[in-house]
Symmetry: C3
């Protein structure tokens, strides 16, 4: 099954990836590495999960936000590469979770993103990880994911 078919089997589809709102780029390719700008839980141009996990949002909602953010990451990769054939593997995922004071299970929230990557990318999911708790994020988003991927050089 293709990545898109695996997503469909979960009832998911790649969103239209957001374009930068300033003088930067959604993706940059250099030396066999693809960088993706920080993604948030965006759907139809709106941040749909706002506020702190453990406060405005439940842990379950935090995981939904992480999965939606991961979908946006996949959409950016797909747009840049024109599919997933040139993707070698995800290298690194940094996950930022807006969190209530005293909530310490940010890794459990970001697992929803890592699990989606593993389920739909298989061996290409790879990725080391670093996870952080934040008091707030830009646009009051619940999650930011910053991802780096290894790609085959352009021929």
């Amino acid at each position: 099954m293709t990545v898109e078919q695996k997503l469909a089997a979960r009832g998911l589809a790649l969103p239209v990836p957001p374009q930068p709102l300033g003088a930067y780029r959604a993706t940059v390719e250099a030396n066999g590495t693809l960088r993706i700008s920080g993604q948030v839980p965006l759907r139809d141009g709106q941040v749909v999960f706002k506020g702190r996990v453990g406060e405005a949002l439940t842990v379950e909602q935090g995981k939904q936000a992480a999965e939606l953010t991961a979908l946006n990451v996949l959409a950016q990769i797909h747009r840049h590469l024109g599919g997933f054939d040139r993707l070698v593997q995800l290298i690194h995922v940094e996950g930022y979770v807006a969190s209530a004071e005293g909530f310490y299970d940010q890794p459990g929230v970001i697992d929803a993103a890592s699990n989606l990557f593993a389920d739909v990318l298989g061996d290409k999911a790879g990725h080391t990880r670093a996870v952080f708790s934040q008091t707030q994020l830009p646009a009051n988003a619940a999650i930011i994911l910053v991802v780096t991927a290894q790609i085959e050089p352009q021929k």
Copy 2:
């Protein structure tokens, strides 16, 4: 026009880039990538913008801080490469903004850095971006920028 001439046209000049104060380096080159240590809004050895945007600092002062920090980034690149000829493009910019609770427009602040890069580096400005809100930063700085650049290998 050269980068330096474009800066001069804006009334700006490259500062003397700060040296590390510990057992690390200002810049490291590896595999065609240049890493630059986190830069702060430093002028003549002093952090000149301190505290939180939306509290101690206005948004306009935050933007001035972001631009000054971006100047320090350019100064580090210039020192490492002996100019900007070997710079291929900026790959990634992470922008951290010390922020008042409830202030969510960190991207608007970091735009001042992205805009400076675009204005003086042109096609080489490139860069994906991730922006964060912080309750405080080391030395009570208002801004930290962490930048990665693609460079031509040394001959």
Copy 3:
């Protein structure tokens, strides 16, 4: 002296590096770069330094936490490469310090990690650095280190 001998001379030894607790990897190698997942001050499977520097922990304890975290970084590199021969240099270290409000010397805390790297890796210690203050970290850890290293390609 080898890295292990230099550690022993300081009364230190490489711990058994922690395995990921989710669908990600401790280390990923790509394009001559080794990425290491965020490390915490772990000993025998327990986070042994918890809470904020300047509050639950003294600055001295923060430095001990940073050194212990650096040991875990070295252990991950050692496990991935089967030693340190293939290590060219550390490229970049991001240091996150859980901190009391108004405590601004996170660089002084992370110096304990940079100093350990310099002492035992010598010329290979390299590394640019970015240091941050955090209100809290996952698992209530006092420190997270996120490290990237340059390695010789596999033959």
